[in-house]
């Protein structure tokens, strides 16, 4: 539609080209990217120097070269009943299952709690009560109830991812501007249309924020649970290595977890960029 309005148009069309669209969101981080890269390089250089000049015993601080060697060894031959890939997949599988539960139960329930006084009244008390507890405090109870297997860990993780997502969906519903709802009603929206075309998209930014928090909570609970009670996973690998003072393997585990966390964060940023490019714009 580049047609200029014809002479019948009773009103001159807006022709002025608008100012160029605001710079893309990445530019602020692009400006700091170089600085961050230098910082990272400096940290690694410091690590190399510390190992080189023996500022700390290799038992406490293994050299980067040792860690790299150990990384290859663990990846190829495995450590504590599994290769690095096995442990990583075990951890990822648990967190994926927990996020699935958090998303597929937390979002619908949170939306309902935001919409309905009764649902909110019934569910907010139990959620508030357990959400205040540190997950590791009730892990022993879950193990007594559900056994030492995967179930207890996935339930624990699901509980820690569910609450932030549920709260976020609830807050999202309540953050919908009342004018936006009134506008839709005066355009003839019925209740279902109001929900699908106004409330759900308006709540999406909050829901994605909740998902980010849930991923953070899930990762920390995951590793902690694996440290205590597991036969596989990155946390288990770290704990086993620590028992034998294999500090280089501990470093391997930590680096993999850091990379996973970074990947999750980047993925969420990408998702926000794709799903809600309009966030904060209107």
């Amino acid at each position: 539609m580049t047609l200029a309005a014809n002479s019948q148009t009773p009103f001159p069309p807006a022709t002025a080209q608008r100012r160029p669209s605001p710079p893309p969101r990445g530019s602020a981080s692009a400006r700091t990217f170089g600085i961050s890269l230098v910082t990272l390089a400096a940290l690694i250089a410091l690590w190399v120097l510390a190992a080189q000049f023996g500022w700390a015993s290799p038992l406490f601080l293994p050299s980067p070269a040792d860690v790299l060697t150990q990384f290859n060894a663990v990846a190829a031959d495995g450590y504590a009943n599994g290769t690095l890939l096995d442990h990583t997949l075990a951890s990822l599988g648990r967190i994926a299952a927990a996020l699935g539960v958090g998303i597929f139960v937390g979002i619908p329930l949170g939306l309902l709690m935001g919409l309905n006084r009764w649902v909110k009244g019934i569910f907010s008390v139990p959620i508030d009560l357990y959400w205040g507890l540190p997950p590791l405090a009730y892990l022993p109870l879950l193990i007594i109830w559900l056994g030492i297997g995967e179930t207890s860990k996935i339930v624990l993780l699901s509980l820690s991812t569910f609450a932030p997502i549920c709260f976020a969906a609830q807050a999202g519903v309540r953050s919908v501007p009342v004018e936006r709802i009134n506008a839709a009603l005066s355009l003839g929206a019925n209740r279902l249309q109001l929900f699908t075309s106004i409330i759900l998209p308006s709540a999406l930014p909050e829901i994605l924020t909740g998902l980010k928090i849930a991923i953070g909570a899930g990762l920390s609970t995951l590793v902690a649970a694996e440290l205590i009670a597991a036969q596989s996973g990155l946390g288990y690998m770290i704990m086993s290595a620590a028992n034998f003072l294999a500090t280089d393997v501990v470093f391997v585990g930590l680096i993999v977890i850091a990379v996973l966390a970074f990947a999750f964060t980047s993925g969420m940023c990408w998702l926000e960029h794709r799903l809600i490019p309009w966030k904060g714009k209107l």
Partner: protein, 264 residues
């Protein structure tokens, strides 16, 4: 025909006192007329509009549109808000087509109609843009097109140009006059600008606060000239315009006690 009879709205204020936001207001809005309600803030003019839109229930009285009583918001009354309420995730065309989508109008038909309306408000080239790339005035034009898309019986406009700069505002007034002349819609327009009221209204009702009520009404005909000429200058310097402006101004600024006897 919109008929308002003895409409009252009473709130319970935070101090426990009853606030009479609207006190026995009666008003008719005939087809093809523009009724402008003007008054200081707090005089109940927006409350009146919200009641007609169905956002606020009446405490007393009735509002009927073509004989049917108003109980809830509905597509027969198009609303243009002061703050634009466009959906940021939809482009301009989809925003205009929203009401038609709610009615189940086919995609081809609703886009065709929406494009026609965008042309009417001079935004044909902006159909695919997201609303946040438009200026405030353009967004209000989209809002007007969106409200017109479902062909409502009446257009309710709540200080739609209040947030715009004075130059844009003049352009928008021109736009509204020409849209009105073309569509013949009945319009209720809320404003706190006396000039805007006189320029756009076929009927001007002056409202006063505490309790919110109509204290005077005037007929005017400047909007027809304005729609034809598009020139606000000669209209605002017309002796009758100046006379009415003075009269309305003194009504609005009168001390509350002295105002009591003014009506009729």
């Amino acid at each position: 025909m919109l008929r308002i009879r003895d409409a009252s709205i009473t709130f319970l204020g935070s101090d426990g006192q009853h606030v009479h936001a609207l006190d026995h207001v009666s008003l008719d809005i005939a087809p093809a007329s523009i009724v402008v309600a003007v008054g200081a803030s707090g005089c109940g003019k927006s409350t009146l509009l919200n009641a007609i839109a169905g956002f606020l229930p009446l405490t007393e009285g009735t509002i009927t549109l073509d004989g049917r009583e108003i109980a809830a918001p509905g597509g027969d009354r198009g609303v243009v808000f002061q703050k634009d309420t466009l959906l940021p995730w939809a482009n301009v065309l989809d925003n205009v087509a929203l009401g038609l989508k709610y009615r189940g109008v086919s995609r081809i038909e609703r886009y065709e109609r929406s494009r026609h309306l965008l042309e009417l408000v001079g935004l044909a080239d902006f159909a695919e843009k997201p609303p946040y790339e438009l200026s405030g005035g353009m967004r209000q034009r989209v809002g007007i097109a969106r409200a017109l898309a479902t062909d409502p019986k009446i257009l309710l406009m709540d200080e739609p140009f209040g947030a715009l700069d004075s130059l844009t505002r003049e352009t928008m007034q021109q736009l509204l006059a020409s849209v009105w002349a073309k569509t013949g819609k009945q319009i209720l327009f809320i404003t706190h600008s006396i000039e805007e009221a006189l320029t756009l209204g076929t009927t001007i009702v002056v409202m006063s606060p505490r309790p919110g009520r109509i204290v005077a009404r005037f007929d005017a005909d400047f909007v027809r000239d304005f729609a034809e000429s598009g020139d606000i200058g000669p209209i605002q310097s017309h002796p009758r315009f100046i006379e009415l402006r003075q009269e309305i101004r003194s009504l609005i600024h009168q001390p509350e006690g002295a105002r009591r006897g003014t009506l009729q």
